[in-house]
């Protein structure tokens, strides 16, 4: 009994020590932040680890550099990743606000929303990227601006028509709670008839349902499938592709990273370019040339065609000469 008590006391002391150490560490963190107060801090809050979002961030940093700003002299970066957790995204944004960063950069909707909420009182400028519908997300007015990654849907339909002249139905899997996905599906449905397609859309509520929905989609006998930038769907893309490849159904991606994973092709925007434009806008704000309030958000519509020749061959698809000439082979280094 006595032994037990001692162990407990020891552990309690250990825990106390741990708590105090942590408190001390935050103290240090806080003071070092204010020490580097001369150089403006850019807080980047990225919603989660994801190839496209990573590309946005890389592009953003590139954009800052190419605008003539030097890291460590003109700005320092405080990069945080929320791991797709809304609560963490909120705390990250509050951290930025408390440290009085010069600018917050929110990558993907939930992070940008959290940043904008935390910046409310101090009016810290917020810049966002990788948001499909800033108007719906209410991020279109105020001391905020950024870039929108609207899908080039017409180009994608054109591409599918060129690769599969006889195809009739296109399947789309999407998450019903994602405003971005819902509006993209609506646009697909509106534009598909122009190219002689009908859309077969299946909505899911969470990632665990996606593969079942993919099975249903295959059983419906669609001629091909196309992706949106839907995180739940893209997250399990490799498993979807296993199924569709077995069934001989080509899947078109919505951006380069999906084609790298094994989609046949994509007319997609380039996320590094999107991020770069965002970085240039951020540089303007930092230099004082314009405020986020004055600058309207920009929608990047330029798209590139990406192809994966290996997968194309497996599925027996041929790329017409004119498209092949401008397409980018994602497997070539």
């Amino acid at each position: 009994m006595i032994k037990g008590e001692i162990t407990y006391e020891k552990m309690m002391a250990l825990a106390m020590a741990a708590v105090m150490t942590m408190a001390a560490l935050t103290g240090c963190g806080g003071s070092s932040d204010s020490a580097s107060g001369d150089v403006p801090v850019i807080g980047i809050s990225q919603y989660g680890q994801h190839a496209s979002l990573d590309n946005c961030r890389e592009g953003f940093l590139l954009g800052l550099e190419e605008s003539g700003l030097v890291e460590g002299v003109d700005y320092v970066i405080d990069y945080q990743n929320a791991g797709f957790d809304d609560t963490i995204a909120q705390q990250i944004a509050q951290n930025f606000s408390a440290n009085n960063v010069a600018l917050m950069c929110g990558i993907a909707t939930n992070s940008a929303t959290a940043c904008y909420a935390a910046a409310e009182d101090k009016n810290i400028p917020v810049i966002f990227t990788a948001i499909t519908d800033p108007v719906k997300a209410k991020l279109d007015s105020g001391n905020i601006t950024g870039t929108s990654d609207k899908l080039p849907i017409e180009e994608q339909l054109k591409l599918i028509r060129a690769l599969q002249p006889d195809a009739k139905t296109i399947g789309i899997l999407y998450t019903t709670s994602e405003p971005n996905s819902v509006s993209a599906v609506e646009e697909y449905q509106a534009k598909a008839p122009e190219f002689g397609f009908t859309i077969e859309a299946i909505g899911v509520m969470q990632q665990s349902e996606v593969l079942q929905a993919a099975d249903t989609m295959i059983s419906k006998g669609v001629d091909c499938m196309t992706n949106l930038t839907d995180n739940n769907v893209v997250g399990v893309l490799p498993s979807i592709l296993e199924k569709t490849n077995d069934a001989g159904i080509p899947v078109y991606g919505s951006e380069i990273e999906q084609v790298k994973i094994g989609c046949v092709a994509s007319a997609g925007i380039e996320y590094v370019a999107l991020g770069k434009r965002t970085g240039e806008m951020a540089a303007k704000i930092l230099k004082g040339e314009a405020t986020a309030e004055e600058m309207p958000y920009e929608t990047i519509t330029d798209s590139e065609i990406y192809i994966n020749p290996g997968v194309l061959e497996t599925l027996g698809l041929t790329v017409p000469e004119d498209i092949a000439a401008e397409a980018i082979d994602v497997t070539a280094e």
Binding site: Y8, S34, Q94, S97, T109, T113, E120, Q206
Partner: protein, 297 residues
């Protein structure tokens, strides 16, 4: 303002707001011994109702009452499924939580943002009249503090009333309740109603603070609530004069503070969860050690 000071204030604010949820989890988990998973659904439910009402121009304080009410309904449903339909506690919560995922989206339409031009409890009339001169971060802090303390005091008072004592009896010794000629099922139902009303209230305040409702915002809230309750009650186990509700409040703040420390240290998000898990384990093991000591004594 000093950055460190400000960070502490916003962390405390978070702790207070989420303490409302933790009180709810305290009632179900600690008092009723009921693992209630409804929380992951009733938290965003409160937020969804609040978001849609705010967008439609309803007074922000009224939305809090609406959230309390609708959360109570959610708790009632779980209670009904468990007590009246005889479904196991864990499953009853899962059923309601799953249903709420759809219902929340039906209520809010989709993820919903609330424009800055719309007043929240932190920017509307009464608060601005009293402390309109102080910055938003202070206003948020004061409002959250008041909410957390007032709800705590009401709970403390309630748990001493006859109804509250019965609630405590159901978790500790259900037979006693039966011998008192009371239906323990109804008491459980009442507990779930109160707990989920508080959880939804917490969701409503978070929605106003964040100016957004997202369908995924409920994910992991049960785990947070459990952690706050267990950390709090474990930390204060030896200090019997500290009320359990106070302990839960501190537990909630402690948890949020740990996350904030991790973020400040620049810990990657993936490691953040691991750090939380380790902390949780340490506190749990501590709690068990202590329990063991008591048992032997």
């Amino acid at each position: 303002m000093n950055a460190m000071m400000e960070l502490c204030i916003s962390t405390l604010t978070q702790g207070f707001i989420y303490a409302l949820l933790s009180y709810g989890v305290y009632i179900t988990y600690k008092i009723l011994d009921f693992p209630d998973l409804t929380v992951d659904g009733s938290f965003p439910l409160g937020a969804a109702v609040t978001a849609i009402m705010l967008v439609k121009g309803v007074n922000p304080f009224v939305t809090l009452l609406a959230a309390l009410f609708i959360g109570a309904v959610a708790g009632f449903v779980t209670g009904f499924i468990h007590v009246k339909l005889g479904v196991r506690d864990l499953l009853a919560g899962i059923i309601t939580m799953t249903a709420l995922f759809s219902i929340n989206l039906q209520i809010a339409g989709s993820n919903l943002a609330i424009e800055r031009s719309i007043d929240t409890i932190f920017t509307s009339g009464p608060i601005m009249a009293i402390m309109g001169n102080s910055s938003l971060i202070y206003r948020k802090f004061v409002v959250a503090l008041i909410l957390a303390v007032v709800v705590k005091l009401i709970l403390d008072w309630y748990l001493k009333t006859k109804s509250g004592l019965l609630l405590r009896a159901v978790g500790d010794n259900a037979t006693l309740v039966t011998t008192l000629a009371k239906d323990k099922g109804n008491v459980k139902l009442l507990g779930l109603v109160i707990a989920n009303a508080l959880v939804a209230l917490s969701g409503a305040v978070v929605c106003q603070e964040q100016r957004a409702f997202s369908s995924t915002m409920g994910t992991g809230q049960v785990v947070f609530g459990l952690a706050a309750v267990i950390i709090g009650t474990t930390l204060f186990r030896k200090l019997s004069f500290v009320k359990a509700t106070t302990a839960v409040l501190v537990g909630s703040v402690f948890y949020k503070a740990c996350i904030q420390v991790a973020i400040s240290l620049g810990l990657p998000a993936n490691l953040l969860k691991l750090a939380t898990a380790v902390l949780f384990l340490v506190v749990l093991v501590l709690g068990n050690k202590q329990k063991g000591g008591e048992d032997r004594a």
